[in-house]
């Protein structure tokens, strides 16, 4: 037997043309693996990418690429910095491709690309919120209505939004959202992500809620509940619709004007271990390592039903010849028999 060696897989960045769905260029990022955050900024004729990964010693690496010539098929490495702090999110300052901000669960760093392409970073000075866990941030103009002041809205695991003035690097306000909404559970309101539009701040939480707040966080306009933790919220260009990504792999659209909701897409989150078909109804059952059993229509690709198993992992699935019942085998040796009409478990063997 050969010894197992850890393979260092280099990260690849691909730049896509959205309209044509074509990949413009693909580049290997030297000495970086485990890419986990990136941002893209365009200013006049130039554009840049900033990305965060890890080097071979598992230290955090921040890399900046000039993508102005991407249409010609090449992107140019600009600068790179290594740091010991863990970074979860990174974003360019609006309208400035030489400055960006990064956060980790316990750190906030202000970055600048100097004229000689060197990267310089400054930590946010000590504040009273050192002990809280940061989860996401957005740039917006301060709720004080002085539109010249760029603010950072930083979300925390304990339900606060910290408002920080970018230029002064100073915490000016704390919005405690947990105080403003009726407590649903005793547990803290863990904010997972946010996005800001001109009129609203949209906030997603670990318990699956998306809430559309007024920009000063005084009231909630829309509240929507999803099945799992909200992973990301993206506002459309015209700021009327919000794209919502959840931890269960679903993609949803919320219209802020009509308040209508639409599911676009669902998927398994880990590998699929088995499928079985029902040709007459054009349906399919899939089971996967993410602990879900999903029923699909294979003509439309839509998910029709989902069974979530929290304690056991479903591995094998099979229809009865009549296709009205299916059996599912789990990793712990259990077999469960499901009725498709009633969605009930008819039998369970161990």
């Amino acid at each position: 037997m050969s010894k197992k060696t850890r393979v260092f897989i280099l990260a690849i960045i691909r730049l896509w043309k959205f309209e044509t769905r074509r990949c413009l260029c693909a580049t290997r990022v030297s000495n970086i693996q485990n890419l986990h955050s990136l941002d893209f900024a365009v200013e006049k004729s130039s554009s840049s990418i900033v990305l965060v990964g890890q080097d071979e010693h598992s230290r955090t690496v921040v890399c900046v690429y000039n993508t102005s010539n991407a249409l010609k098929g090449s992107i140019e490495f600009l600068s790179r910095a290594t740091t010991d702090v863990l970074i979860t999110h990174i974003r360019f300052v609006p309208g400035d491709i030489t400055r960006f901000l990064s956060i980790g669960t316990d750190n906030i760093q202000f970055w600048r690309i100097k004229s000689d392409n060197d990267l310089q970073s400054i930590n946010l000075a000590e504040n009273d919120f050192r002990q809280v866990e940061y989860t996401d941030f957005q740039f917006d103009y301060s709720s004080k209505k002085k539109s010249s002041e760029l603010a950072i809205y930083l979300t925390t695991k304990t339900g606060q939004i910290l408002e920080i003035l970018y230029d002064e690097r100073r915490l000016i306000r704390v919005h405690n959202l947990a105080d403003k909404i009726k407590p649903i559970q005793d547990s803290a309101l863990a904010i997972s992500t946010l996005t800001c539009t001109k009129h609203f701040s949209i906030i997603g939480t670990d318990d699956g809620y998306v809430r559309v707040w007024s920009n000063d966080f005084s009231q909630v306009h829309i509240e929507a509940k999803y099945e799992q933790t909200i992973m990301k919220l993206i506002s459309s260009y015209d700021q009327t619709r919000i794209l919502i990504l959840t931890a269960s792999g679903s993609l949803n659209l919320l219209n802020l004007v009509t308040k209508q909701h639409r599911n676009l897409f669902r998927s398994h989150m880990k590998s699929i271990t088995d499928v079985d078909y029902d040709d007459s109804k054009k349906q399919m059952i899939s089971v996967g390592q993410d602990g879900t059993i999903r029923l699909w229509c294979f003509r439309t690709g839509k998910q029709l039903a989902e069974f979530i198993s929290e304690k056991e992992t479903p591995l094998v699935v099979t229809y009865t010849p009549s296709r009205e019942i299916f059996a599912c085998g789990f990793h712990n040796g259990t077999i469960k028999i499901f009725d498709l009409k009633t969605s009930r478990i008819l039998n369970e063997t161990k």
């Binding site: 591995l315 699935v317 009865t320 059996a327 712990n332 028999i337 063997t349 161990k350």
Partner: protein, 167 residues
């Protein structure tokens, strides 16, 4: 039910209880219904095969222990013929392919793939001598066996004759 009192539950009864209470102790890696839907056949990673009565609360009718080869590659262990009358699996060793009747688990054919030979068009004699990964019935009831050295063996599932080796 706790079986703490040895005197109350002599060995024989414990044996039965074990059989009737518990179908599988390892991860399930194969599930097949019989053609009439009356029986469910299941297999697990320890190599156990179980026949359950789907008409009677899925009570186990028959359990064969260690008949399948231990499956580490997480591929599905059981494959049925298109009429669901027969099941094929790899076992008891990785060189044996076994075909059983779905309704009874009775063995109908066993092929030792370590000593199969066939004569190619060029009149060369080829012997297969490798371990199997998994076996599948084709719709026309040929048998395909994937091996650990990335070959595909094609058998006649009635006679067990090796028809071809695809590299």
């Amino acid at each position: 039910m706790k079986l703490s009192n040895e005197k109350q539950f002599p060995n024989q009864i414990r044996f039965c209880l074990f059989f009737f209470d518990r179908h599988h102790q390892g991860s399930i890696n194969g599930l097949v219904y019989s053609s009439n839907g009356f029986y469910l056949i299941s297999s697990d990673e320890n190599g156990d095969l179980c026949l359950s009565d789907a008409e009677n609360k899925y009570k186990s009718l028959k359990i064969l222990q260690n008949v399948l080869v231990r499956n580490e590659n997480s591929s599905l262990a059981l494959s049925t013929s298109s009429d669901r009358k027969y099941i094929v699996y790899i076992g008891p060793t990785e060189y044996l392919v076994t075909i059983i009747e779905t309704n009874t688990l009775n063995q109908t054919l066993r092929i030792d793939i370590s000593s199969c030979t066939y004569v190619t068009d060029e009149q060369q004699t080829v012997t297969s001598a490798e371990a199997a990964l998994f076996a599948r019935f084709t719709p026309s009831r040929f048998l395909l066996v994937a091996t650990k050295t990335f070959r595909l063996l094609k058998f006649d599932s009635y006679s067990g004759k090796l028809l071809n080796i695809v590299r």
